[in-house]
Structure formats: structure tokens, C-alpha cells
Symmetry: C2
Subunit: 196 residues, 2 copies
DNA sequence: CTTATTTTATGCGAAATAATACAAAAAAGA
DNA sequence: TCTTTTTTGTATTATTTCGCATAAAATAAG
């Protein structure tokens, strides 16, 4: 098997290049010529391997969110105490959001909303990520509540949304250049204030 | 005075039309042809009156943010108690963010971030709005603290950021179609939890 | 060696897009 | 009435962009 001419590009590397470009410029401002350079492929090969621009963008989103989601689940599950887990999760996110120069925040939160109205599939991708994070955070809070680690007065679903709000503001602020230290301080205050 | 041929368009209405279009599609996905229709002007007149696409977008942002900022200041100043003021402010914002069909969230938070890296001026507009809201909220909290209305343990600047995080998540969630009632509930819980 | 299969690379063509040139139109002032 | 000023509308140009057609290249199977 592997019948025809072998591929010259690495699918993973190409998608990474595409993702980085979308992360910087968003969907609409990115052209296929830009993508061809970033993916180190020519346009016909791109169409053949990935489909049109929307499809590449959504595949980039899917990979990015998969990592984010997985990181959250693993970090929250691994930790015995909620607040330690949450702080570790925010720490991870801050590293990603501030990990380039200039800082680019979150691929989904910073680039998908502008497309979400005119492109309902992107809207759905955004909605799904928000929902998954709500669920993951909420379940961890509920577990902590059952363990007696946090107050029964706390409402897990609403608190989860406020924790995600913290994650989102960190993403947005990172994109405006706000320094890591400032974001860390905010994250720790959020955990301390919201989870008790 | 008013020397030459009178304008056939109303500057305010034209800018409103442009703003609505940018709000729906973002900066990059909006063409000047679309704008010409939405503003009820022909392209040369647009260039003459407003400048290029970036300039029209930034004028739309400025007007939108001016109203948001003013609404916040007035609502927070008018109320004697902080929590009532904050709840009223969130209520206003929710009406704006969910006021169309489909819901479009916040013009700035939902469309500017995707442009902010490649267009530093837009990045600055975003940063400035975030900063102004931080300051406005923080000052109101500090006042309440001096009045003995809220605890001295509360950190006004950090709490202000968490309140803005709440505003931002409401904007993003509104854009994914989350219902008003759900957003209201979140806003009230945020005020209750964060401001004590 | 021949055939089938898949990818690559050049390049084309249609459509969209940004921005401007230019003359006609519409007003005020001399 | 004639000039000046500003806006309007048609048209044009140059560029970008998307998506695909086509043929060459590179491999496996028969």
C-alpha cells in the first residue's frame, strides 16, 4: 500500500503552520497564498489534503481546543485539591497565551467570535468549546464539594462559568500584551475568591 | 457657509450602518462594497467622508465604546449601592449584546481581538477600552470600600478585572446564542460572589 | 516493464476588491 | 451671472484571491 507518489509535506507540521497563521491573523484576513507559504505547500496540494480555507481553520481550531481541553482534564484530575489544580490549569493556559512574541492569547477566543455570526459552523465550534470547559470545571467543583473541600453554598455550574470568564479575560488581555505576572496574579485571586 | 453641494447622507446614520455590518462580520470579512450598501453611500463618498476601511472600523469602535463607557459611568455613579449599580450595568450590557437577531455580543470584544495582532492600532483601541473599564469599575469599588459598604479585604483592582471578565464572557456567550435569562443569572451570581 | 494511483507544480481564469480619476451636479458667494 | 467649493456617480485600473485544470513526477502493484 501507499500507492501513489509519496507526500512531500508532513501533515502535522503543515497544520501547525496553518494554525499559527490563523492564530495571528484570524480566518478572514488569512489568504490561501499566505497559508501556502506557512504550510510549505502549494495551493492545489492544500485543497487536496485539507479542503478549503474554512476546513483548514476548523481543523486548526479542533486541534488547539483538543489540547486545551485535554490539558484541563488532566490537570484537574491529577490534583488532589481543587485550588491547586485550578491554579496549575491557569498557569498552563498563561504559558500558551503568552508563549509567542507578540503574545497571541487563545486561538478560539481571540479569532473565532468575529466569524461566528456569518459562519455558523465556527459559531458551533466556539459554543462547543465553551460548553466543554463549563462541564469540565463544573464537574471538578462538584467533586470537591462532595469531598467537603469547598462550601455547599457554592454553585458549581455558575462558578465554573466565572472561572471560564477568568480564562477568557486572560486570553484577551494576553492578546493586548498584558504581562504574564499580572495575569498570574489575576488567576490566583480568581481561584481564591471564587472557590472557597 | 456650507459652501459646496450638500451631503446626501447623514453622517450619523451612515456610521451606524457601518457599525452594524462590522459588528456582524468583523473588519476583515467586510468589503467596501458591503459597506457602501450598508452606509447608503457610494465608495468615493465613503473615502471622502471617512477615509479607508480601517478608519471607518475604528470610528465605529470609538462610538460603540464611548456609549458603553458612558453607560457604565452613569449607571455606577447614579446608584447609591454598588451591587445595585453593577447589576444595572450588566443588565444594560445584556440588552445590547442580545438586542439583535441573531445575537451579536460586543463589537469590541467579539471582533477586535482577531485584528489586534496584525493591526496594532486596533490592538490599542482594545487595550484602551479594557483599561477604561478596569478603572471605572475599580474606582466604584474603592468608593464603596471607603463607605464601608464592602469589605476591606476585597482588592478593588483585581475584583474590577473579574467583573470585566464577567462582562466579557457575557459578550462571548451572547454571540454563541446563550439566552438572556442565563446571562442575567450569571451576572447576578458574579456580583453576589465577587462583591461583598 | 507496464499500469494504476497519488502527489506535485505550473499556471489559468473568473470574480472580488481597494482605491482613484474625472466630469457632472448642487449649493454659496461675489 | 459667474466663480468657487464640495459632493455625487460612473467608470477604470491594478491587485488580490479563490479554486481548479492539466500535465509531470514519483511510487507500488501486476
Amino acid at each position: 500500500m501507499a500507492r501513489g507518489r509519496p507526500r512531500q509535506f508532513d501533515e502535522d507540521e503543515a497544520l501547525t503552520g496553518a494554525m499559527l497563521l490563523f492564530w495571528e491573523k484570524g480566518l478572514s484576513a488569512t489568504s490561501l497564498d499566505d497559508l501556502a507559504i506557512a504550510m510549505n505547500m502549494n495551493r492545489p496540494s492544500i485543497y487536496n489534503a485539507f479542503g478549503n480555507k474554512d476546513a483548514i481553520y476548523r481543523k486548526s481550531l479542533a486541534r488547539f481546543c483538543g489540547q486545551l481541553d485535554k490539558g484541563m482534564q488532566e490537570t484537574l484530575d491529577a490534583s488532589t485539591s481543587v485550588d491547586v489544580g485550578l491554579n496549575a490549569f491557569f498557569e498552563q493556559a498563561i504559558e500558551v497565551y503568552c508563549g509567542s512574541n507578540p503574545q497571541m492569547g487563545c486561538l478560539m477566543i481571540c479569532t473565532a467570535p468575529s466569524e461566528a455570526v456569518s459562519n455558523p459552523e465556527v459559531g458551533k465550534d466556539l459554543k462547543d468549546l465553551i460548553s466543554r470547559l463549563d462541564v469540565g470545571l463544573s464537574q471538578r467543583l462538584a467533586r470537591a464539594q462532595r469531598n467537603g473541600e469547598i462550601s455547599v453554598d457554592l454553585q458549581p455550574k455558575l462558578t465554573a462559568k466565572l472561572l471560564q470568564a477568568t480564562l477568557q479575560t486572560i486570553a484577551l488581555r494576553a492578546r493586548t500584551g498584558e504581562p504574564k505576572a499580572s495575569l498570574r496574579k489575576l488567576a490566583r485571586y480568581a481561584v481564591k475568591t471564587l472557590v472557597h
